[in-house]
Symmetry: C2
Subunit: 351 residues, 2 copies
């Protein structure tokens, strides 16, 4: 019989802070690059086309002695049932014995991990001097993207907000964001005045809702796209030299956010080349033979480890296609379980 720990979203929120999550996701990227982390094939099943589906992503992080899976389902009719459409569950197993260690609600882990991954793209590929950030999409993910990116990019002064579908939502988002950054992302550092002050200052930027994506693109140093779009929102001719893109929204086949021709002349990195080619932002460019597998400069772990050069010149356009890999969730979940054990948080059960 095994003692297994369950962590719900509230428990996980108590434990995770974005600085640590960024460190952990960097570790996952590094381990993947060093063949200490491996993704297993994704199982995808559509219960009803366009209405309900699920996938099981799994993998092994040898470097962290764990393996596991996340199962994410999307039932669009849950809305009417007062249930979340997306439900994620993460399971972590001991990599040396197979003993189950924990089961965790996957939602907050995915939000934090996706934000961290986006920021890591900017940290290693954007110009250090970047002053402006354009956030495309103001849904659930946007807050995490912005928080993490502000934490790693010290010179951002202005964040443009753009919602491709309903700009009144961008306004609502803008009205709340400073408060939410403070409440949700500063709280963990309340006992560490140095970090608290550092991030407080970093979060103190100017937010502006933009009506014209063209104008905003022309002014942005860093552009993060996290919109569930099926066609390009950003055209190539708007993009100025030196821009960095982190693309988050293309999480399954058929999705796209930036013009595929942008990828042709860019320095292109991703978290997993296979996923990027088949279901990521690069899918269309690959299909149309605008770019090939050889056009990836590598996976992001190579830049972190200095195995590959990221940006070469100030004028380069860089792209990080963040498809989202299970190793992110697993390494964060494992950290949460370790902290929960120390702090005696969560429900223990017998299995």
């Amino acid at each position: 019989m095994f003692k297994v720990r369950a962590l719900n979203q509230a428990a996980i929120k108590e434990i995770l802070d974005m600085k640590t999550v960024i460190e952990k996701v960097e570790e996952a990227f590094v381990m993947k690059e060093k063949f200490q982390g491996e993704l297993f094939p994704v199982v995808f099943h559509e219960f009803e086309s366009g209405v309900a589906d699920m996938d099981i992503e799994s993998g092994h992080i040898k470097g962290a002695d764990l393996f596991g899976l996340k199962l994410v389902s999307c039932f669009s009719e849950n809305k009417e049932k007062d249930l979340p459409q997306l439900i994620g569950t993460v399971m972590v197993f001991d990599g040396n014995t197979g003993v189950p260690k924990g089961i965790l609600n996957g939602q907050y882990i995915a939000n934090m991990g996706t934000g961290a991954a986006a920021a890591i793209g900017a940290k290693y590929l954007a110009r250090k001097s970047s002053k402006t950030l354009l956030m495309v999409g103001t849904g659930n993910q946007a807050l995490y993207q912005i928080a993490a990116t502000l934490m790693v990019m010290p010179n951002i002064e202005k964040v443009y907000l753009y919602n491709p579908r309903a700009n009144e939502r961008a306004n609502t988002f803008k009205d709340e964001i400073s408060k939410r950054l403070t409440e949700e992302f500063l709280k963990p550092y309340i006992k560490n005045s140095k970090l608290f002050d550092e991030y407080k200052e970093k979060f103190d930027v100017y937010f502006e809702v933009v009506e014209s994506i063209e104008e905003a693109t022309k002014k942005a140093d860093i552009i993060i796209t996290a919109a569930p779009s099926k066609e390009a929102i950003i055209k190539k001719e708007w993009v100025r030299p030196g821009t960095h893109f982190t693309c988050i929204g293309a999480d399954m086949s058929g999705k796209q956010e930036i013009d595929e021709s942008i990828l042709v002349d860019s320095i292109l990195f991703t978290d997993d080349i296979k996923q990027s080619m088949t279901s990521g932002e690069a899918e269309k460019a690959i299909k149309n033979q605008l770019i090939y597998k050889e056009d990836y400069k590598g996976e992001i772990g190579a830049v972190i480890l200095d195995f590959a050069k990221g940006r070469e010149q100030e004028n380069d356009i860089t792209v990080f296609d963040s498809t989202g890999i299970a190793l992110q969730d697993l390494i964060i979940a494992n950290y949460a379980l370790e902290m929960a054990k120390e702090k005696n948080i969560g429900d223990l059960f017998n299995l």
Copy 2:
């Protein structure tokens, strides 16, 4: 937040009885045949060749409103750590909403389900008049195979026990089996004297350890093979007309228990044609082009539903290649969760 139920092995033992498990596994086979049950691709990963591996089997039973997975790992070095080598975990999700329903220790579920599947093969393919059963392999699985088969085959009088590797184990097994059948399989019917008496009588058979597999094969009406063998234990020339085989042991590529030529002239059924061809008892016969996909008369659900004829004549040799499908585990796990809810068994946790 979801209330999720965890059931460990002791809790599951309190709930399951073999009669119900046989009914549930039959239901799973029937649903698969009616396209109300579907297997997803298996994820298999070897951590270290021959030392440690894991697989994730998953599927959807529309007819039972559930989907889910079982993760089974095998770490051979666990022996020295006082841990089970095989560790199985089953997760069940609501098929209409994706809400997690429960997490269960998979060991007892797999044992019971595998026993039930073997018995279902005999029930629908063996001669009703079968009097002798030969059990090849006396490991962990044998008890469940024998219990379930005796429950569905009313005329068995004698059970031959054969252990291909160490026959002294067959002796130990024989010394204990009557007691174990009574203690582990009759107990659930203690309040139902009709069933109790029925099964008590069915379990009252003569057990005999055999030294010669050839002699035993020549006397057996039903042969169940559950030995982790890599080459044929049973030769074709020993098999008498009318024999039924249920083959359990070939659960991964490279395993085999009966001579592949037996399959050529037999009436062949399985639980999943794809699994049987690639990793089941039929793998070698298929590879050597002794039989083809067309030689399967179908999956076992077709016989249960009377969509296909099983045995046609008393003299036919029938084979049920029981590869073990995740739908078995899922339907049993779901039943266990429902009963546990009624009886207030198990640990509830928040996810």
